[in-house]
């Protein structure tokens, strides 16, 4: 019998009732992250059935998706800025959490922010945990060797009421990555290249484990960027084995274990990496040393090329429809396309290292006059650390807007939108039609590429602008 993979160890550790031919497994959930958009109907169902929350202590709430990225000190401020439906939804979340004793990192909290940024910051995200949220980018937490995946609102209700989910064991896909990333090529470019290679349905039915020396060399924020976009390859989740980087990151965080509990936890975490003889259902290899900064050209994250390449040619009807929507031409490069908006933010790339990267390009330079640039830190903590390092000044002096934390223009639910026809170069994770505003065209890139494009006013390669 072969050894176990990281995924299998975590899965097996959480079986309440095993899977059978006729029934899925009942899987226990260690951490339930929640936000204002995918919870209301779940709370409605529990209320209508007279059910209470089983483990409020394992539930964490924040406000991020509908939330404005301007300072909100009181709910009156909210009403002044938000659409009525968004304000009502935020109020509903605050009330639901209060009534059910759920810890809410809301307005005025030191730890408010994008749900997949604050989980790790709080030290709530830990190796070996099962973590769910009504949001597909829950895969982010897999960077810590946790099994994190997105669920729908009905399942949010299941977890609130029982702390469990009905699940069938998915397959596993090992993605082995070797080689050193070249200068100017980031974790974001790596995950875009992976999605380009395996396709937006390539991971369907699988949990990905990212393995190899390249992955070992990445810090935790870079690993979060990689795991975040696992869903864009269709995968349920994406995981990276915990190591010294992981342990160092979590040490001392507010919700991380302390004292003797810390030592016990660390010892357990060290047993999690896949056994040497673990088997995977599928395997893919990537040579990271061959990669360049990447840029999407179409209307899903799999429609992506190296930034110096031309848009591919294809007769496929959906492909041609995507190019028509994006107003890009097959055979022509993406470089040089005029840019209207640049967005640095989202659960993919809004952490401190992402802001440092963007600032490194923008220091002493100006955003092109034709460009509106938003820089949105992923959380209150990121915002404060960035301000302490003077990064906000770099962005503001360059002519960018420095905002409060939230999902913002990733999906435009809070008023931060690109206008019809505008080309938005974005560090977020989805370039679907209308994602960032009706009729808006989205191009996904790394923070370096976003900053370079803001300066140039066109889609631009960051490498010539890097300091020596």
């Amino acid at each position: 019998m072969s050894g176990k993979s990281l995924f299998q160890k975590v899965w097996d550790d959480h079986i309440v009732v095993p899977e059978s031919d006729d029934t899925p497994a009942i899987l226990y959930i260690d951490l339930h992250l929640t936000h204002e958009v995918t919870t209301p109907e779940a709370f409605n169902v529990l209320r209508s059935r007279g059910l209470s929350i089983r483990r409020p202590d394992l539930t964490v709430a924040t406000l991020d998706h509908s939330t404005p990225t301007v300072p909100i000190a009181t709910l009156k401020d909210l009403d002044a800025v938000s659409e009525p439906a968004a304000a009502a939804q935020i109020r509903t979340m605050i009330e639901n959490c209060k009534k059910n004793d759920i810890r809410m990192y809301g307005f005025g909290s030191d730890f408010r922010g994008i749900v997949h940024v604050i989980g790790p910051e709080l030290g709530a995200t830990q190796p070996g945990k099962t973590i769910v949220c009504g949001d597909s980018h829950t895969s982010t937490h897999g960077a810590f060797g946790a099994l994190g995946f997105g669920i729908g609102t009905t399942e949010v209700g299941h977890v609130l009421a029982t702390q469990c989910l009905l699940q069938r064991r998915p397959k596993t896909l090992a993605i082995n990555i070797e080689g050193t990333l070249s200068r100017g090529v980031t974790a974001k470019d790596l995950i875009l290249a992976i999605i380009g290679k395996i396709g937006v349905g390539g991971g369907t039915g699988h949990v990905i484990e990212y393995r190899g020396s390249t992955i070992r060399s990445l810090d935790m924020e870079q690993r979060m960027t990689i795991c975040n976009m696992s869903i864009e390859a269709g995968a349920r989740a994406g995981m990276i084995a915990p190591d010294d980087n992981t342990i160092q990151y979590l040490n001392g965080r507010p919700l991380a274990p302390k004292g003797a509990d810390w030592d016990t936890a660390v010892a357990r975490w060290r047993t999690l990496p896949s056994d040497a003889d673990a088997r995977f259902d599928s395997e893919v290899s990537i040579d990271a040393s061959q990669l360049a900064p990447m840029v999407t050209f179409g209307t899903n994250p799999g429609m992506v090329v190296p930034i110096t390449d031309a848009v591919p040619v294809s007769d496929d009807a959906s492909f041609r429809k995507a190019l028509a929507y994006m107003k890009v031409t097959a055979g022509k490069p993406m470089l040089g396309l005029p840019v209207d908006v640049v967005f640095v933010g989202s659960c993919t790339n809004s952490r401190l290292s992402d802001l440092y990267a963007a600032a490194s390009i923008m220091r002493g330079r100006k955003v092109a006059k034709s460009v509106r640039m938003l820089v949105v830190p992923g959380s209150v903590q990121v915002q404060r650390q960035a301000e302490a390092a003077g990064l906000d000044k770099v962005f503001k002096e360059a002519g960018a807007e420095w905002r409060e934390a939230g999902c913002s223009m990733c999906l435009g639910m809070n008023g931060d939108i690109a206008l019809p026809g505008q080309l938005c170069v974005s560090t977020s994770n989805r370039n679907f039609e209308g994602r960032q505003g009706i009729g808006a065209r989205s191009v996904l890139v790394s923070p370096l590429t976003a900053a370079a494009s803001a300066i140039a006013g066109v889609v631009a390669d960051p490498r010539p602008l890097l300091q020596n």
């Binding site: 550790d13 309440v16 009732v17 899925p24 009942i26 226990y28 951490l31 958009v37 995918t38 209301p40 109907e41 409605n44 169902v45 059935r49 059910l51 089983r54 509908s66 659409e83 439906a85 968004a86 009502a88 939804q89 509903t92 945990k129 009504g134 949001d135 597909s136 669920i151 729908g152 609102t153 009905t154 399942e155 299941h158 009421a161 029982t162 702390q163 469990c164 009905l166 069938r168 998915p170 937006v200 349905g201 369907t204 039915g205 869903i231 349920r236 936890a265 357990r268 899903n300 496929d316 009807a317 959906s318 429809k321 639910m413 989805r430 679907f432 039609e433 209308g434 994602r435 009706i438």
Partner: protein, 194 residues
């Protein structure tokens, strides 16, 4: 949930591949606090002019689509965001089943929780269906068979638990609550506490 055993209807066809849930329900409609009434949001960015009038050439607005409860869609339908508003919108609009060669995982799971049938068929059948919009099909949940107009039928995958829940109108939350003792035992006996 209501019991579902047969869905019989003419088809409406949307052939584009990788139709994501942002197309099915754009994010600006997600500020709702109820699942009701989302049918008007279905494919909103493709369906309406800027002034809100329905586009006469969008397939779901045409007379051919009236009364159709089966959608034949391109590969990898429902990819992207986990928003359960997507199956809610399809159901509220009147769609009861989606047929494709590939249906994204989270969308599939959400659909089954709401009685929207995800029906995955082989490429040849799919190609024929794309080329023949408006045919009458019968989806038989108990036998997991899709009956075609010529009398032939093709199988589609459906795990036995999902089938059982659909046929019997089983509420999965009730099923889980029934296991409360096992859940308590797990919490008490597990090797470490989160």
């Amino acid at each position: 949930m209501e019991k579902i055993d047969i869905v019989r209807s003419r088809t409406v066809v949307m052939p584009g591949t990788d139709t994501d849930t942002d197309q099915i329900v754009p994010a600006r409609f997600l500020t709702t606090t109820t699942r009701k009434g989302l049918g008007k949001a279905l494919f909103a960015d493709w369906r309406y002019e800027k002034d809100g009038k329905p586009k006469s050439d969008f397939i779901l607005n045409t007379p051919a689509a009236a009364g159709c409860r089966i959608l034949v869609a391109g590969h990898n339908f429902g990819c992207g965001s986990s928003r359960e508003h997507a199956p809610w919108a399809l159901l509220d609009f009147g769609i009861q089943a989606v047929i494709s060669t590939g249906i994204a995982d989270i969308f599939r799971s959400n659909s089954l929780k709401n009685g929207l049938l995800p029906v995955v068929v082989d490429k040849a059948t799919h190609t024929w269906l794309l080329a023949n919009p408006g045919v009458e099909l019968t989806i038989d949940v108990a036998s997991c068979q899709l009956q075609l107009p010529d009398g032939k039928s093709v199988p589609f995958p459906l795990d036995s638990f999902s089938k059982y829940c659909l046929l019997n109108g089983v509420d999965q939350l009730g099923y889980l609550l029934h296991q409360s003792d096992a859940i308590t035992r797990f919490e008490n006996e597990r090797a470490w506490k989160p």
